[in-house]
């Protein structure tokens, strides 16, 4: 933004601007403005350091470019004298100049050179000072008198009105920043002294304060001791007189700053403070109004309202204020019109520079003022930018990342869900297969199961028949009848127990995930198969572990696997002589797994068959489907275990089922039959 100015330094004299001037200490070098130098927009406060840095750079370039100035001297510049009442760095002046600078437009071949002068009121003043200053201006601008004079604020207008005829006769004057009531008191002004008046009325600010702090009972107004302070004080007294019936108005006028601060610190509740600032306190200490307000606001125990936009940021809540920048802009517009050849009397000027509500967002928070009470058109300062405002790209990037991440998560969840469904389907299928396999097992056990059930049933029937005959034969044989009934009851329980076991095995049940004891499962396998072993004349040797082996899973499925293995083992020994048909089930306990071994003394598994043993449809039995072992493997693996087969060192095959134990093993020892053998030979 600054580059056009910097670039122009090579072909025309450059007077920099406020800060470049100040830094290069070439305070009186005129600023040259060309139409192609775009009006600067106001600098946001947050970008101030950057602005300063760029200005500093520009200043250095300006200083080094100074020797090139004579080469550009051929360009005709139009001087405009800008006269300020106060010092250069008064914030109001800085803001005003910014507006002025922005608004001035000039033809390309006649750039405007803004030449600044400062009366430095109220530090300097009086007839002698003014005289010397007038002489200085006369000498300085003798060769090139200004085309327009801009008088900012009251003192400079007064000076211009007093000395214009003498110094720069008939040069039009544009005033700015002067209250309309003061202008009215100066009327009539010459026709070529024009400008847009300012309304410094404080009642809108007070109204604002009363609206924001509805419980306000007391308004404290602080004014200073310098001449302009006195003028303002009297204006305020007049204006505030109308408020007397609504609120108690108290003036702290021309007091030493120390006293002012003490009073402000002890205001108590229900008070608000208003101050136009002061140039001087009762002890003669000099301030800028903004500085004085800053000091006061720091001590005040009540919210403070101010007069000028330059007070924003010093600690005041805000106020309804005309903007100095707007004042400068209005003046700049008029200057541009005049330079373009307009007659001063013919210009249509705005009636007044409008006021705008300015608030310090931090102070709103500090005093607990409801943000919603701020008018929509108010200028809110120091509101921290929202995350989006402050880090737009980062926020967008983050949102994009979140969205992508979210999408990914949803995708993964969907995938997981799909997989879960697939797993459920697989589990259902596995349960179905397991059930089918159990049915097959039951089919194989039909003979022994029928035997097991019919045995007690036969006993019951015979006992009942015997009892009937005994009753028919007469005579008192109660004891015999009683023992018959006891036997009937016992056999009934026996039969129903077999049926219960069978039901457990055959029922199509939901796959369970429950803790159970492996030893118990092995023991039950022995009970279920005892009868079958007897039928096949096989010595079935069950050796359950002596301690509890906790597992989690479906105990029916694990039993099913073991039954399957034992039936296979019994098949393997069927061709041996009766006294050699042995099948042993034992359990080994490891650190994390328990292993059930099913060992037979049959011919063993051919080594070529070993790798295929657990594959579906692999069978060595003429009538076998080849599903039993593959289902067994599926079930064992579903329990996180493993199944394997090998040939025992001596003779026969060993099947191992490894199952993971539950972590927190409560090794509660349970004594069961240490060595339970269901031997068919009794």
């Amino acid at each position: 933004m600054r580059q056009p100015t910097v670039a122009s330094a090579t072909r025309r004299p450059l007077c920099g601007r406020f800060f470049p001037d100040w830094i290069a200490t070439t305070a009186l070098r005129p600023v040259v403005l060309a139409s192609h130098v775009k009006p600067r927009r106001s600098w946001p406060v947050s970008s101030f350091p950057r602005w300063l840095a760029v200005n500093a750079l520009a200043a250095v370039l300006a200083a080094t470019a100074a020797p090139a100035a004579p080469a550009a001297a051929t360009v005709e510049t139009t001087p405009v004298l800008v006269l300020y009442s106060n010092g250069r760095l008064l914030p109001a002046n800085v803001a005003g100049d910014r507006g002025l600078h922005e608004a001035i437009r000039a033809p390309e071949d006649h750039p405007v050179a803004l030449c600044y002068e400062f009366l430095d009121s109220p530090r300097f003043g009086g007839p002698d000072f003014e005289r010397v200053f007038a002489e200085y201006l006369r000498g300085k601008y003798a060769a090139r008198p200004p085309a327009v004079i801009v008088a900012l604020s009251q003192e400079s207008l007064n000076f211009v009105l007093r000395y214009r005829a003498e110094l720069f006769p008939r040069v039009p004057v544009v005033h700015a920043g002067i209250d309309r009531r003061i202008l009215a008191s100066l009327a009539p002004l010459p026709a070529d002294v024009i400008g847009v008046p300012v309304d410094y009325a404080i009642s809108p600010t007070i109204e604002l304060a009363l609206r924001w702090q509805p419980r306000t009972r007391r308004l404290v107004v602080v004014t200073g001791a310098a001449e302009p302070d006195r003028v303002l004080e009297s204006q305020l007294r007049t204006e505030l007189a109308t408020l007397r019936n609504r609120v108690e108005v108290e003036f702290l006028a021309a007091l030493p700053m120390h006293d002012v601060l003490t009073r402000l610190a002890n205001l108590g509740r229900g008070a608000v403070v208003f101050s136009p600032g002061m140039f001087q306190d009762g002890e003669g200490r000099v301030f800028t109004p903004a500085k004085s307000v800053e000091v006061m606001a720091a001590s005040s125990s009540a919210p403070m309202y101010g007069f000028y936009t330059t007070f924003i940021g010093t600690g005041i809540v805000g106020g309804s204020m005309p903007s100095f920048e707007a004042m400068g802009r209005e003046a700049g517009n008029i200057v541009s019109e005049l330079l373009a050849g307009a007659e001063p009397g013919s210009l249509r000027l705005p009636e007044v520079v409008p006021q705008a509500v300015n608030v310090d967002w931090r102070q709103l928070r500090r005093w607990g003022i409801d943000e919603r009470a701020i008018p929509a058109d108010a200028i809110v300062h120091f509101k921290p930018p929202t995350l989006l405002e402050a880090h737009r790209n980062e926020v967008i990037a983050a949102v994009v990342v979140f969205v992508l991440q979210g999408a990914l998560i949803i995708l993964l969840l969907a995938e997981r869900r799909r997989r879960r469904f697939a797993e459920l389907a697989k589990e259902a299928q596995r349960a179905e297969l397991a059930h089918a396999s159990r049915l097959a097992i039951a089919g194989e056990l039909t003979s022994s199961l029928a035997h097991e059930i019919n045995q007690p049933l036969g006993a019951i029937l015979s006992n009942a028949d015997a009892a009937e005959l005994i009753l028919e034969s007469g005579g008192d044989r109660r004891d015999e009848l009683r023992s018959i009934l006891a036997d009937i009851r016992r056999d009934d329980v026996r039969a129903s127990e077999v049926i219960r076991r069978l039901r457990t095995l055959l029922a199509r049940h939901e796959v369970e995930r429950r803790p159970f004891d492996l030893g118990e499962a092995v023991h039950d396998v022995g009970v279920i198969l005892a009868s079958e072993a007897r039928r096949r004349l096989v010595a079935l040797d069950i050796r359950p572990p002596t301690e509890r082996l906790p597992l989690v899973g479906d105990h029916v499925q694990i039993q099913q696997v073991l039954i399957n293995l034992v039936l296979n083992a019994m098949d393997a020994v069927v061709d041996l002589p009766e006294d050699q048909r042995h099948v042993v089930i034992s359990v080994e306990r490891g650190r994390e797994v328990a292993t059930v071994l099913v060992q037979d003394c049959g011919p063993g598994v051919a080594s070529t068959h070993l790798p295929k043993l657990f594959e579906p449809f692999f069978t060595t039995k003429p009538a076998g489907m080849g599903l039993g072992l593959s289902i067994a493997r599926t079930l064992v693996e579903a329990h996180g275990g493993a199944i394997s087969a090998d040939n025992a060192p001596g003779r026969g095959a060993v099947f191992r089922v490894e199952l993971p134990l539950t972590r927190n093993t409560k090794s509660s020892r349970r004594s069961r039959h240490e060595h339970q053998a269901a031997d068919s030979r009794g």
Binding site: T446, S447, S448, A450, H451, E452, I453, N454, Q455, P456, L457, G458, A459, I460, L461, S462, N463, D465, A466, L469, I470, S473, E480, I484, D487, R490, D491, R494, R534, R535, S680, R681, G682
Partner: protein, 210 residues
Amino acid sequence: MSTRPLIHVVDDDESLRTALLRLLGAAGYEARGYASTGEFLLDPPPDRPGCVLLDLRLPGPSGLDLQQALARRGLPLPVVFLTGHADVASSVRAMKAGAVDFLTKPVEREVLFEAVERALERDARQREARGEAAVLRERFASLTPREREVFEGITAGKLNKQIAGELGMAERTVKLHRAQLMSKLGATSAAELGRLAERLRQLTPSEPAH
């Protein structure tokens, strides 16, 4: 030799065994129980009419084995099999081996008693047959070798002259032997001798009859 039959119940299931003994006892039979075939064979039954109620599926030597063992020992008691689950193979084997009946548990009282009665009847018949055969064998044993040769000749339907020629003796001597052996065997005609010979042939093998 008591005439009252004794029924042997062999079943490893104590409960069922007790129940059967009770039932048979209540019906007026004398019955004795065994937990296994081994127990039964260790304690040989007295030579009394009777029968065996045998569980088909017994630990140790099976019911079928027992049946054969009894026959070998010349104690061919009729056997009634009881089974909890009748499969075709074992029932066929049992019936072939001469089982009287093959009952499925739980067994109806009437069915059981009928089977027992049938078995006892058969036992009685067999005993009678065994008695007759014993007399016959005794008589036959009293024959001299010559007389036996002549007997074989007669039962083969040969004439005295042919027998005399084959044995190298006089026809008169053959007639003498013939009169002697007919008297020893208690037969009055050649036809009767033929029937005796037939009975003997039937009794010679050690298997139980039929």
